[in-house]
């Protein structure tokens, strides 16, 4: 029973993540993100990939994502704080982050990355800072959700192994 409950809880969380609408202050940004949930269909596919053969797949992917993202974000803020900004390097980092967020289905992070890249192309430091801020926000928001989800996953996993 508890397992079902946990699973329900998890599904509820995921559903909420799909539908959680970005509450942006910026009107321009609002235009882009207003109808978007935290996650997109890619996460569906990830969920579909997880089965009995690879029980910890989601968890693993999310952990990887978080590690990568935090590292990248750290690098980004480090590079941006320097007096002379190397935009090509920054662009490469953002590209990485965008790729991983796309893979996970964290579409708000992905979109924020796209904003960042645009600012990067224009060599617009202000824009970069703004976009980085946005990525940070988005990332931490989704991380907290992911953390809850992983906890639930783990409990589900624990339960299911115990009952077997």
């Amino acid at each position: 029973m508890a397992l079902d409950l946990l699973k329900q809880q998890r599904d509820g969380l995921i559903f909420s993540m799909y539908n959680e609408v970005f509450a942006a202050v910026d009107l321009c940004v609002l235009f882009h993100f207003v109808a978007l949930g935290l996650l997109d269909q890619q996460f569906d596919q990830l969920l579909a990939l997880q089965d009995a053969d690879s029980p910890g797949f989601i968890e693993e992917v999310i952990k990887l994502f978080c590690q990568e993202s935090e590292r990248t974000l750290g690098e980004l803020s480090k590079h941006l704080s320097q007096p002379v900004v190397d935009y090509t390097k920054i662009d490469a980092y953002v590209h990485q982050l965008k790729g991983s967020s796309a893979s996970v289905g964290a579409q708000l992070v992905k979109l924020a990355c796209m904003n960042f890249r645009q600012a990067c192309e224009e060599n617009d430091k202000e824009g970069c800072m703004l976009a980085l801020n946005m990525i940070n926000n988005e990332y931490y928001r989704i991380r907290s959700k992911f953390e809850t989800m992983i906890q639930l996953e783990q409990r589900i996993l624990a339960y299911s192994t115990k009952h077997q």
Partner: protein, 1098 residues
Amino acid sequence: MSPSRAVDYCQEAMDLEGEKLEKKHGWLMGSLETEDQCLVQDDQSLDKFEIPSLPDEETSGKDMFRTQDSKLGSCEGLLASFMNGCWYAVVGLTVCWKIFNFQEKVGINLKWKQDQEQPQSLQQVQKQQLQPQGSRSGKWRKKLLILFLVMGVAGSFWLFWFMNKNTVLWRKETLDNMCDERARMLQDQFNVSMNHVHALAILVSTFHHGKNPSAIDQKTFAEYTERTAFERPLTSGVAYALKVLHSEREHFEKEHGWVIKKMGTEDQSMVRDYTPEELDPSPVKEEYAPVIFCQETVSHIVSIDMMSGKEDHENILRARATGKGVLTSPFKLLKSNHLGVVLTYAIYNTELPQDATSQQRIDATEGYLGASYDFPLLVEKLLHQLASKQTIVVNVFDTTNQSAPISMYGPIVTDTDLLHISNLDFGDPLRKHEMHCRFKQKSPPPWTAIMSSIGVLVITLLLAHIFHAAINRIAKVEDDFRWMMELKVRAEAADVAKSQFLATVSHEIRTPMNGVLGMLQMLMDTDLDANQLDYAETAHASGKDLISLINQVLDQAKIESGSLELEAVQFDPRVVLDNVLSLFSGKSHDKGIELAVYISDRVPEMVIGDAVRFRQIITNLVGNSVKFTEEGHIFVSVHVGDEVMNTQGTDDDNLNKRRGLVKNGLGPPYNTLSGFPVVDRRKSWEKFKLASSGSVVYDHEQIRLLMTVEDTGVGIPRDAQSRIFMPFMQADSSTSRTYGGTGIGLSISKCLVRMMDGEIGFVSEPGIGTTFSFTVAFTKGQTSSFDTKRYQIESAISEFQGLRGLVVDAISVRAEVARYHLCRLGISVDTANNLKSAWSHIQNCCATSATTRLDMVLIDHDGWDGETTLALPQLLKELRQSEKDIVSKKWPKIFLLATSRSNGLDKFKSAGLVDDVIMKPLRLSMLVTCFQQALTGGTKKQQDRRKPSFLQDLLRGRHILVVDDNVVNRRVAAGALKKYGAKVTCVESGKDSLAMLRPPHDFDACFMDLQMPEMDGFEATRQIRCMESELNNQIELGEVSDTSSSNVKHWHVPILAMTADVVQARHEKCIQCGMDGYVSKPFEEDQLYRAVMQFFES
């Protein structure tokens, strides 16, 4: 004036002229050269300008010469040629002005063109350059004008001076000439007269002194002199005085009988009447010279002693001393009271040698011959003989005493400007005489000079004014031009900005609208009551309309900004049309309109072009038709251009022929889809270029399709027909109120059609309907390419292959449409135009044999006349009945074709009269499902489940290398591939992938990320391909004996790019680098399947 002087003048004038012209030329050429530097190199025009002008100058110079030669002393010729020269100069100036105006224009044109060609960034620079250049040229033009003005004014002053000088000179010359002439004549005449007097002296000497007794007495002398007076016209009289010494006086007086008298010298001037008797006898002197002979005119002086007169005395003394004729200074002559001179000759008794001394001469003197000249008379006479005596005043002076010249003739001197003095030589060296000549009038003002110089001045001023106006005009035009350029740039910028704004705004609106629509959709899915649902649905529909409008505006903006690019993908026009029709099927059902598509057999199955835009055009047109049609039909047909063109000439329309296939008298009034009249659609494509052979080279590949959309709607009002392709322009402002819409669709369609190298046209009849036609050029495609959807349909088609059907329809066109759709499924079709014939046909088929049996009968529900419509259920019942009678045979399935869901169609089905009701419009997919259900009893889901398992089949057990620097991506890709049963190895950089894929290896495929640090996907692939080809070469040469590679003959690991963006260029680059395909990242099952299938299918 002598000819040589005249020539000199002329030469001088010409030189000056030439110099002036040269100066001007220099200036012009200079100006042209400067022009050249900044503008065009127009050598030719320069030459053209120069060559004719220079000879002109020469000839004008020659002309001047000739004129001068022929008209000596006249200034007219010179003036004329000078004016000619002026005119040449003016003409030359005008010509070069024209030329450089033209060049200016050319320059501006060029500049303008350059501006056009140059990109915008350069244009800014150009604009900046344009400004100073323009003002600079304007400045030097002004300077030139001022220079020209100054030169013109100076020229006119010079002309005045020059001409005036000439006039004065000429006047002086004239005066000189006249004066000299007069002086010479006077002198000549005087000399002649003197000679005569001399001759007379010799006569006296010969006949008076040479003879003894004297041959001459007073009487003879008087007579002789009187008779020879004509020879001495100037003398008033001659007299002969004898030299008488005092010692001989008495003897002499006695001899002649009178005493020697003395001249009344004391009061010479006062005594007028001269009577010798009143004169006193001469006082005692050393010698006397009493007149013994005299002419009759001066007979009063006989016996007067000439020595007693002061003048005469001197004269006599000088005469006998020199032996020549001598003159007295002028004095009042006796009696006549005129000023006159007396000429005295001495007569000697012996022949004297030439160099005799004066004493010898005095001693030898016998007597004296005197002749008095009446000077005024003399000069008067002389002047009478000469022309133009009125114009000049002549004065003659005796200037022997320089300080006090004695006037001998002429009025009292009036001081006029010009004076010419000629010396007179009357043969007496001691006496000097001068002739002074003056003009009577003062010289008139030099009118010609004034007039011509004023003329030149005026011309100069006029020209200057014209040039000034022209310069101003040029400046103004240049300003205007700059202003226009600026406006143009601004307008272009505004246009771009507008397009950008539209694009941006449309995009920005679209995104939230999607949100709104999504939310509304979700809202509708929730539990709503009827009212709320209605509201939500309305909102949703409006939102959808808004989105489509925005899309259209976006399209328009894109087309206007030229950023819309057409794709070239392979597609099936039939599928596209099916899709479009299914879009409108709902609406057509609601309205009860018949909607049908017919595609000619000659239209290829696959064409290459922009399917999306093609679909958009058709959607636009069909959408319009649906909007404006309340009843009747909308018929979309597609033909190959050639097909229609071939029939056009002969007026034997293939379509109509087909339409009329099964027609008989019983049918509806019009053989159209719904029986409603339609416009003649051929008119809509009358002007099209239908032949697909637009370019001969691609003749076999290119195909031109002609699409027509025919409706029976309200039609377009005639006055609005001309402007319906204009954006945001609807036929009528009331249209938008009645039917909604923006009217942008047709404009976009037109643009798209033009982009597809096609044409669009229409014909419309208010109240009858409208037919739009358009052509597009596509490339023929290959039918063999793989498409899952197609595969699905084709498998269905194979199911129905060989079946037979019967279409029962009163309207043959509609039957033809149904037949076309069935033919697509491989069903062979017969048509019948009423139920009776159909019935007999069915029975025939059933009766004859199993090979020709009917599998299905499609009966159209609409379009029958009233009787038949009512009878339809009954007939169907009968049909069913008979079916049951013949159980042994398999009976055809009966389908009813219906336009709208109405009046109990389901009743037929529920009553078992028909197997199914098919809603029109007919579409392939719909027919397939329908037939599948009816014929095989529903194998619907079979297709869908097949694919994933298929992918799993493909990938199971395969060893796949995933190359991606992003760990998350790597993990996800691996996870996905693992799920399909593949064995996955991951590496995180291009270099690692090289190591892994160095043959021999056991990977079946490689998924490669493109953007990686150090070595990106392209480079890695290139290197892998390199390694492979090396090894392949070695294998071919048999150099490799590695056991692991012995079973592999040719190394080529499939490499698929993983990419997030779907830009075509990116894909092409992938292929160039040796990749075999690409999958989008994150994986989409369908795409992954397609990509992988190429390699693992075997």
